[in-house]
Symmetry: C3
Subunit: 353 residues, 3 copies
């Protein structure tokens, strides 16, 4: 048994142990040991899997998985109850999350055993480093930085001068946080995130000779319990802050412009961009590959469909979509009529002739 | 007073000192010291702020800011003229930029005081390094590189063999410039930029067995006074150069394909992509999240609206938008009719029946 | 003659030598030495170039290039046959690729001469490193990693614990591969690629207090002969793998969500995103700036046009486009009718009145 399987076994035990965790009813062998978690088609003996719909249910009999979390109404056909086990649950998806959460803490990502400062990290003597902080190989922490207790700074991370990292924050390998920016408690920045680059601001040179860069002397202030996806960029304010509210989650490869203000619990899916000085209210959801123009005011609890191009303010609680984005019912009606136009066109041409 | 506030105070002085810089008329206390620059809602005593519209004007009275740049026509209501000051100006936005420009040079970003080569940087003995160059921790400079005077190479930057960096260029932390590429004078590359990765070019293998990679042996040549945003990628030419003209500005997370040729003073907003071998003329503006197909010829002084998908050449001076992109008036007319179609559809159906 | 030109000369020889390589017919001086490869407008004496159309053909006479690969049907006008040479070929594009392929192996990118582990690389004693592997400066290889023979790991690359790299893989500078992920033989990861970041998955906290992160304990499994473009991100599975099939090619700045499954020889152009758990069949092509919603099943040998927003499953072999994406003929018909609507609208309004 591999080290990984040994750790999973220690965390999850046998099928019987999981029944109460997932609120499930056991059928089959309660003493089968669980040593892994895997998709049905890739599962090996020892693996726990989940069966969420009829397609998966058909394949349970032939699967090598040892235990399954199965939605109560499904029909599994024949299977060997002497060595395998099923936990019947109301929602296999949620049951699996409960299992994954129990596994949290066993892996490297949550371990505090590696706390400590790598000998190859370059930490300015003027930086304040809290208790239990880990700083990875070749990381750079410049003068005037402060790092809260138990924060974990990955390999090659760069913290420029005056950066403040709150306790229990996690900065994965290769993150850059530029000067004077602030990261809240328990916030997670994934690899390649750039916080505090200059905004995209220029003006014609007074002598007409070209384009002049507008200095960006503000910063970025990120709240607590935020998560920022890999290679996402958040520009610093021209002056004042670009700010990201508590519990907001941003996916990979997003662009957040200078002086943008995101509220709490905003969710932004991948490859989306928000232009300078736009504000987004608490609890608003933004679908993938969307764009918001600059200087907009987007309300609270709005929903913006994937691939929207928002050119106007959106009132609280509304759902918008399309480009230029509009209230979603109007956008869907336009799509529906457009779909019929090709078949209408011959008759329309005749009418107009 | 913090070190930062001391530096701002030294640079900006008192309200009276700024009147001529911003072309403003002083009202209130001319001897109030300015120790920071901040947005109205976040301002603390000592801060300078700006009041650009009636919304801001209403909040000046209750703000903690000490000095404001205010557009001449606005009504500020009551405020304390004995300790606070207003500088009435024609354009508060431009006045603020003048203030920010005066602050340039006081911060780490413009400092030459840190010039020097970090002991942890790995610089090949065969590389030529000019006077006053700074090279950050863990940066790698391979054989055959040359770096012009006063250029600043950030932490963890990788310059592969034969790279040429002109004087006063700034490469922020974590930039990669691959072999034989050239970066012009005063050009700024933000963190995470990749210059000179291979283009996306393949062809069927001659023996029908799969896909064969086309070697990319060209390079990237970036002019002077260019700025490239964080995590933007510029692919090297298949042979010959991908070239970026002087004073061109590219925002974060853009993709510039192999053998693309951008003219001078081109501006490209975030999350835009330009496919291989397309050329873009001087002074053309490209809105965010736009895409240009390959092998196109885009003229000079064109404007391409945000979220455009350009599939055709564009003549000089034209404004295009939409997808597939077309002349903007046609694109806007299509949007306008589309908006009315849902209400027309019932009547149209009756007519056609 | 520069070192570079000497190497090109050694690889390509004189015009006469290339005739059989490119299947061409020589005209002019067969003994002219080739010391570079360049676009027509930038070529210097000694350079080989290509002339693929009538526009290029007109400029051959005045060009400084010494040798050209020219499509057979073109008219070159007057040129000096005593010092210059033309190789008439069926397809100048393909001929040029043959030349570029002959040059492969002469440059740093393919050299095995620099094999070896940089003294500044940090390689865990528990990692297994094959024969002829090169590991660049400041790279980090954690415990439990294994690296196959002749793999090349660039500067600043981070391989977290338990990562497996197969033989002859190439990871360019600044790549991050997070724990337990697997990279196949001969696969190329360009600079800034992040493999194995957490997927974008959350659920309401059971106590209603906010948003809870779903742990991601799966991994990423990338096949052999894959190429992944600069700054592209591939999220790890929630459990089980995100998997990328053999010979699949992904361009720069793409986002591949958790538990996505891409088949063999899939091609994805830049700035595209694929949301969680979607599968894509073998040989499917996805145009730039496209987005695929989550949990979709895209067939084999499909074509998805650039800027598509795919919201539905696509059967094998179909071509789709637009947003919401639909079969391409329907999408093009809608575009065509839409284009006519503005001129129709006046007459339609009259009919309806």
């Amino acid at each position: 048994m591999t080290e990984e399987r040994r750790k999973v076994q220690a965390a999850l035990g046998v099928a019987d142990d999981l029944a109460s965790l997932v609120g499930g009813t056991l059928e089959g062998c309660g003493t089968t040991e669980i040593t892994g978690v895997q998709m049905l088609e890739d599962a090996q003996p020892g693996d726990l899997t989940f069966v969420g719909d009829a397609q998966y249910a058909k394949r349970w009999g032939d699967s090598k998985a040892t235990v399954a979390l199965v939605n109560r109404q499904l029909d599994l056909g024949d299977w060997d109850r002497t060595t395998r086990a099923v936990l019947w649950v109301d929602d296999a998806d949620h049951a699996m999350i409960a299992v994954l959460e129990r596994l949290e803490g066993m892996d490297r990502d949550s371990g505090s055993d590696d706390a400590g400062i790598s000998p190859s990290a370059i930490v300015d003597p003027d930086a304040r480093v809290g208790e239990g902080v880990s700083i990875g190989p070749n990381a750079v922490v410049e003068a005037g930085c402060s790092i809260g207790s138990r924060a974990r700074i990955g390999a090659n991370v760069i913290l420029e001068s005056g950066v403040h990292i709150d306790e229990d924050a996690v900065l994965h390998a290769q993150v850059v946080v530029r000067w004077n920016c602030r990261i809240g408690a328990r916030t997670i920045l994934h690899s390649g995130v750039v916080v505090g680059s200059d905004g995209f601001g220029y003006r014609p040179a007074p002598d007409g000779s070209g384009i002049r860069k507008i200095p960006h002397r503000g910063n970025v202030v990120i709240g607590s319990d935020v998560e920022i996806g890999a290679n996402t960029c958040i520009d610093r304010g021209k002056f004042g802050a670009t700010s990201i509210g508590d519990s907001t989650k941003i996916d990979n490869l997003c662009q957040i412009g200078h002086n943008v203000r995101l509220g709490r619990m905003v969710m932004i899916s991948g490859l989306s961009g928000i232009a300078g000085t736009t504000t987004v209210g608490d609890g608003t959801l933004i679908g993938g590959s969307s764009g918001l123009a600059d200087h907009l005011k987007i309300g609270r609890e709005c929903q913006i469909a994937a691939r929207s191009g928002v050119m106007n303010d959106i009132p609280d609680g509304e759902t918008w979509g399309g480009f230029p984005a509009k209230e979603i019912r109007q956008a869907l009606k336009e799509q529906a009529v457009l779909r019929k136009l090709p078949e209408w066109s011959k008759r329309l041409k005749k009418l107009m002739s």
